[in-house]
């Protein structure tokens, strides 16, 4: 497969692995957080951990849109979909995310709610045009990558004078979340973070560019390497991070130069800024309330805002106290540190959101990597 196989070459991977092994100082540990769930998935899917030396450890970050959505927002969507006149359009991953009291959108659909899986915001427009007597609501989630398509959908809906389409907006921003992690008390020990560097987002950076990360790198003394979503991209980014750590540098470097420009994608950012404005704060699962981290529709587009149109209220929702999704999303615990992992919480019966999306740390580790835990346990028994 052209343009993909080139970035999955075994020989080049071995060369990079060798370079990482040679250049990583055996006297120290390198703990790198990959912010994006896309990177988490690639690391697990291609077994990158097997190629890295023992003192280079990847920590999974919160960049999985489904994972960071708090239970209360899922509950709101379930209550909305229960209204007889509402058709809720969602991306597939959201269907199985657990809400309160064992509810999920999948279960709500089985009980009669009209919930449609869509692959594109344009599907929601088509559904709205075909069912003019229904209130069609698009359940919008995701980081800066999925926001422009939602903005385009709203612009098109306005142009087409569609009166039955609205958006339940849950779009969030990456840089405030990275800052929140670096400021989190359980991440920072005295004077420095337990994270030695970040693999920065791929597609998010294609939209926002590399500049927004500069202040983070400088303020927190953290090297950041923006990397593509192919396994060789990640390996090369790890090598670049190792070199920055060894040199005592903390810069923003762009490994993904074939897609990411310093200034980002102006057209996409313009679409977004026309339609969306900042919320004062937004709740993230695991990270809590983060100021200026969520988007809402601007006043000019208020009639497309489902939260206003349907007077939706956010009610507090308690997560299972044993679920460690929060700590896992902050990178302070690993999936295997959670008592529920692989026992009551599996992809078939997820307790926490990290076990749902293929980009979630728990689902990725369960699906691709749990064999390593068995090997470790066996080795320690022997």
């Amino acid at each position: 497969m052209k343009y993909a196989d080139e970035f999955r070459d075994k020989t080049i991977a071995q060369g990079l692995a060798q370079a990482i092994g040679t250049e990583a100082d055996p006297q120290r540990a390198y703990r790198f957080m990959e912010f994006c769930g896309g990177h988490t998935h690639v690391i697990s899917r291609y077994g990158l951990d097997d190629l890295l030396p023992a003192n280079v450890r990847m920590i999974h970050g919160p960049g999985c849109p489904v994972c960071v959505l708090p239970t209360s927002r899922i509950d709101m969507a379930i209550r909305l979909a229960a209204r007889p006149q509402v058709t809720l359009c969602v991306y597939g991953d959201l269907m199985r995310v657990p809400g309160s009291q064992g509810q999920s959108l999948l279960r709500a659909r089985a009980l009669g709610a009209d919930i449609r899986m869509v692959y594109s915001t344009l599907d929601a427009i088509r559904i709205a045009e075909q069912a003019l007597d229904q209130e069609v609501v698009f359940f919008a989630i995701g980081f800066e990558t999925t926001t422009p398509p939602t903005a385009v959908m709203i612009r098109l809906a306005k142009k087409k004078r569609l009166k039955n389409l609205s958006v339940f907006c849950n779009h969030v921003l990456t840089p405030p979340a990275m800052q929140s992690i670096l400021e989190s008390p359980d991440i920072r020990t005295v004077g420095r973070a337990e994270i030695d560097g970040f693999i920065g987002p791929a597609h998010v950076s294609a939209i926002i560019g590399t500049e927004p990360y500069g202040r983070l790198a400088e303020q927190f003394g953290e090297p950041i390497v923006i990397a593509g979503f192919e396994p060789l991209d990640v390996m090369q980014a790890i090598l670049m991070l190792v070199r920055q750590v060894n040199d005592g540098r903390f810069e923003v470097e762009n490994q993904y130069s074939r897609a990411v420009r310093r200034e980002g994608n102006h057209r996409a950012m313009e679409e977004v800024s026309n339609v969306f404005g900042l919320r004062d704060q937004f709740e993230w699962r695991g990270l809590g309330l983060i100021p200026d981290s969520g988007l809402k529709l601007k006043r000019a587009y208020a009639k497309f805002d489902a939260e206003m149109r349907f007077v939706m209220h956010e009610l507090p929702a308690a997560d299972n106290p044993a679920c460690e999704c929060g700590a896992i999303l902050r990178g302070v615990k690993r999936p295997v540190d959670c008592k529920l992992f692989g026992t009551v919480c599996t992809p078939e019966t997820p307790t926490g959101s990290c076990m749902v999306s293929s980009e979630g740390a728990c689902a990725a580790h369960w699906t691709y990597g749990r064999g390593r835990d068995y090997q470790v346990r066996r080795a320690s028994c022997e």
């Binding site: 497969m1 999955r8 697990s44 097997d50 692959y119 691709y368 064999g371």
Partner: protein, 348 residues
């Protein structure tokens, strides 16, 4: 023998199924005779009984049943009719058996066009004739509009098993080789390419095919050294190997580089975020074969048109967690797990 007095000509071109065609009255007979008997035509159906009698030889027989609810009904490389014949033939064949007879049951939604029903029935008849199998009995029901999605078909198959064959998952042993008969994921991707909200241009057609002839040459080459065969339909190769791993209390270790996947299928899966190992096949089989005979069975497969891309993709290993593990083409390792949730509903 035809019961002429019941017959008036069906308007195949413009007509459609209505509730009277499921009432058991004259219209039902008209539909059965005018459409299904025409398509399936054989000596058993011609006697117009509610069942068919056939001779039984000594030895063991094999029986299976399957329902088909695929959406869309027509897809590149086949339709629900040919799929209902191939799928059930394959389930019989995976025992190492020779399929002989099929029963076919139709649940039709009111308003379904005769022209489409005829196209489905004709392709069933053609698939059965090509496979040397006879559809010897059946049933037709009609349900109100909105109570079924056009057409559902259920087929039951019967076959005969050669003496000495007893293929079953628990016979798999450490060191056995894992053979697949060809490229994976073609059927699922062909169906996806026609889904209303996905529709994309791709040259892939469904691999829907009857595999009993391929099975016969494999059995001739490997005999009882073939431990088990399965056709990896829903859930793909991943589901099939995980099933066998649990049933045999073993694990498997695969080599990703050895697994045949067409570039177009790999590209479509890449775009849609799917794993080709989870995508359905309707004309492929997996065989677990004793190591000494694996090369001979593989050579027999490669010499057959339906097995020309066959490959040895791994081996059975001791693993009390019953995992299917894979060395990735990138040089790392990973699990090949069961599919979780719905990847693509109503694929067959």
């Amino acid at each position: 023998m035809r019961v002429k007095s019941y017959q008036r000509k069906l308007d195949i071109k413009n007509g459609c199924v209505d509730l009277s065609h499921g009432s058991g009255g004259r219209a039902t007979t008209q539909l059965v005779l005018g459409l299904f008997h025409e398509a399936f035509g054989n000596e058993w159906l011609a006697r117009c009984n509610d069942q068919s009698a056939f001779g039984v030889r000594s030895g063991r027989m094999v029986m299976t049943t399957d329902s088909y609810v695929v959406s869309p009904l027509f897809f590149p490389g086949g339709n629900i009719g040919s799929l209902a014949v191939h799928g059930t033939i394959n389930d019989v064949a995976m025992a190492g058996a020779r399929p002989l007879y099929l029963a076919a049951s139709f649940i039709i939604e009111e308003g379904f066009r005769f022209s489409e029903l005829k196209a489905v029935a004709d392709s069933m008849g053609a698939a059965a004739r090509a496979a040397g199998v006879h559809i010897i009995t059946g049933d037709t029901k009609v349900v109100e509009r909105g109570k079924a999605d056009g057409l559902f078909i259920s087929t039951t198959g019967i076959g005969v098993l050669a003496a000495g064959l007893d293929l079953s998952a628990e016979r798999a042993t450490i060191g056995d080789r894992v053979l697949v008969s060809g490229s994976l994921g073609d059927h699922g991707v062909a169906i996806m390419s026609r889904r209303q909200n996905l529709a994309f241009q791709i040259d892939i057609v469904s691999d829907s095919a009857a595999l009993h002839d391929l099975v016969a040459v494999m059995v001739a080459a490997g005999g009882a050294d073939i431990r088990v065969m399965r056709d990896p339909t829903r859930g793909g190769l991943a589901a099939t190997l995980n099933e066998i791993a649990h049933q045999s209390s073993l694990g498997f270790r695969l080599q990703e580089e050895a697994i045949p996947v067409k570039p177009a299928v790999a590209a479509a899966c890449e775009l849609l975020g799917l794993d080709p190992l989870h995508v359905a096949n309707e004309g492929k089989l997996v065989a677990i074969v004793a190591p000494d005979m694996a090369d001979a069975v593989l050579a027999a497969m490669k010499a057959h048109p339906l097995g020309c891309d066959a490959a040895d993709i791994g081996e059975a290993v001791a693993d009390h967690h019953h995992l299917v593990q894979m060395s990735t083409s990138f040089g790392g390792g990973r699990i090949v797990d069961w599919l979780s949730g719905e990847q693509l509903p109503r694929i067959c």
